[in-house]
Symmetry: C2
Subunit: 429 residues, 2 copies
């Protein structure tokens, strides 16, 4: 079968007619399916149910040092939980601060503090006429929403297979002191699934920044979220802390992680890791903001996940559930679109997303067609700052939430929509 | 026995010698006791242990509307928990937003938003050269710490037996547009234990404010924290929301409450209530900051506390434990200091504190003497903005944490310290 672009006008017209019929048939089914957000499925959540029995009405509720975890206090998290979260953050427990159930909140609050108070003696960012942030694209919509809300100007930087395009990044940060930071999902990136190479991590750590208080927001959301239990099939990420220490820029990074996609998105534990100076400053701020986060939930997580081995074993159970979903999506994309030449997509080894690029100018149309047929995708443009995909081409596919049978139905619809929108675009040329 | 002030120099000298001997004897015991913070005792925390069994490994974990509470979402709290927290907030569920485990964080974030974004179209407070807040004194140190951190100038206002001195408040807010708000603990106030009268609540609601975006931070931390189960012995507070609606100032107040001193300080649920316009604005902000707070903990609280009746019954169990502690402290103050004329103190019907005023210029000395003898009190001055008690007279007594026997020991030391410092002060005149 010839690629769409090589077909005649007449062939495309009859193809369009056939696709419209197929689309109408899908629509007639009255589906209501959702591939919009990176949410674990109910069967994944069931994996962590035993955790809820570990702190119960007969529990001692004390930490190893004797602290009554039911009461006030312990600003930065119980020692046991700092140790656990240090595994996810690839750091030492003393560099970890444990927070509530949301790493997004930690990031929002971090940006808020930079804007309001500055950091390590620097001018509060809010005092400047203009502050800018680098945003590797496509990227995570909720990151972009934070910087947008604080009035920070966002600059798109292409995300390559090994991370952000560092030639562009280095040039930008070297010459513009208004650029104060960069959003990074360094491992199994949202939505592309790529992992930053060691070289990219080192260049981020060592690049010359015009802004002395340039900060890397290192959102390692998918740190242990491999699709394959075989270590040879897992991506490895160089620790940004090590790279920064080697480069003499140890205050440049803030690492974030959570158990949202390990235990429960609605009742997990989130944490940050940073340099000693940054940890000290953050603690000095949060001691005004709160007395201590939920320590019983910290204890639950410690007793359930235990350590690196416990986490890895638990994540294999997740992989056993979601890897078949990724395989199904990739198979259906290949079978449905492989020879059409109208889309390319990523084949991640971990994380929660597949990123698809259709023909320029079709993403909104594809998502809208799917929506009309009862399949909700992440909004077109959501993977770009200001929700503006300059090419209107990128679509994020989130395969984890629907059960396999529903996912198959949803993907049938989606593939049909990609084809239809692609043919429409070719005919409109 | 004559009041200290009426005694001769010689009498005071010999009294001082006797007190110094008593003090030395206390010190020799090597005590380590703490009356510094309003923390529930372990026996109070035990009351809520059954809550930990209500959401367990076999639970359905769904809300009434079928939402899987383990997963992402539900920005403003599950319907059942909004209803529960509405009891504490004396409001309708639709005006409630449920947050994490800390009302302090809600308050900090509220001030942060006012500073950064303004409210309901007003200029962000951070854009002004100077912003001021009224602080009824003595008051809650953590409130003052928030406004201090954001660079807001704090103005002391005397707290009378029926609330802040409204003649002073009305005059200040009418003439100074830089005054943007007031901190209030309207019921069983920290540390005085008084409850605002209906008249004070109405005057706060209806007073003319030069700042259109003047805000009342209504921290109803002790809303159901009575010391007596008999309703006739409980304080009643007029709802600020009703008063503001009547006065046509419905956007003026933000109410805060939590279950920190109902279930677990370390693992409770906190919430705010506000006008529809304010609720809408806050939701629009927090949707950038987070996806949803811990809904399993919300469910736990709903299943455990149930409703207003459930809360009241549970609070009676707390009262049964802490009322004897308040009685002991009051008895020992009366017996030890009653006829000395050198101190006055409050006799609250609820809350967590007793507020004591010693002779001017002695509070720091008293607290320091107690500390040296192994009894930690709240720092002198802590009940005032900038930790500056202009009279150096006020001390907050927190009787709830120590078991009764320890409390008795601690109070023996404390009473001795008050006497000794008072005599010292008289002799130095």
């Amino acid at each position: 079968m010839a690629a769409y672009a090589k077909r005649s006008h007449q062939e495309l017209e009859s193809l369009k007619k056939a696709l419209e019929e197929e689309y109408a048939a899908h629509k007639a089914k009255g589906l209501s399916l959702n591939m919009a957000r990176g949410k674990p499925g109910a069967d994944q959540l069931d994996l962590s149910m035993p955790m809820l029995d570990l702190v119960n009405g007969t529990s001692d509720c004390r930490s190893a040092d004797g602290t009554d975890l039911r009461n006030y206090g312990v600003l930065d998290g119980i020692a046991e939980c700092k140790k656990l979260m240090a595994v996810l953050l690839d750091d030492e427990p003393e560099n970890v601060i444990v927070f509530g159930n949301s790493s997004l909140t930690i990031m929002y609050d971090s940006i808020m503090r930079f804007m309001t108070f500055g950091t390590l003696g620097s001018t509060p960012w809010g005092k400047f006429e203009n502050v800018k942030f680098l945003c590797p694209v496509p990227g995570y919509d909720r990151h972009f929403a934070i910087t947008e809300r604080f009035g920070i100007e966002m600059i798109n930087v292409p995300l390559n297979d090994d991370g952000p395009d560092m030639d562009i990044v280095e040039k930008l940060v070297a010459n513009d002191a208004q650029i104060k930071g960069i959003w990074c999902v360094p491992k199994y990136a949202n939505p592309c699934g790529i992992t930053y190479s060691d070289e990219v991590v080192r260049r981020l750590a060592s690049m010359k920044c015009a802004a002395e208080d340039f900060r890397i927001m290192w959102d390692n959301a998918y740190c242990v979220h491999h699709l394959n239990a075989n270590v040879a099939e897992q991506d490895q990420l160089l620790d940004i802390a090590i790279a920064c220490r080697e480069a003499g820029t140890e205050d440049r990074y803030f690492k974030f992680a959570s158990t949202s996609k390990i235990t429960f998105p609605g009742a997990g534990v989130a944490a940050m890791a940073a340099s000693p100076a940054n940890v000290k400053e953050v603690k000095d701020h949060i001691t005004i903001q709160m007395i201590g986060h939920d320590k019983l939930n910290q204890l639950r997580h410690v007793l359930f996940l235990k350590d690196a081995k416990g986490i890895a074993e638990h994540m294999q159970k997740h992989a056993a559930i979601i890897a078949p979903k990724f395989e199904l999506v990739l198979k259906m994309l290949e079978e449905g679109l492989g020879d059409t030449g109208c889309a390319s997509w990523t084949k991640p080894r971990g994380g929660y997303f597949i990123s698809l690029n259709g023909p320029d100018g079709t993403a909104k149309r594809i998502v809208s067609l799917a929506k009309e047929a009862g399949v909700t995708m992440t909004g077109a443009g959501a993977t770009y700052p200001y929700k503006k995909d300059p090419n209107d081409a990128n679509i994020r596919i989130a395969p984890t939430l629907p059960p396999l049978a529903e996912l198959e139905q949803a993907m049938e619809v989606f593939v049909c929509c990609v084809k239809l929108a692609s043919v429409e675009a070719l005919l409109a040329k």
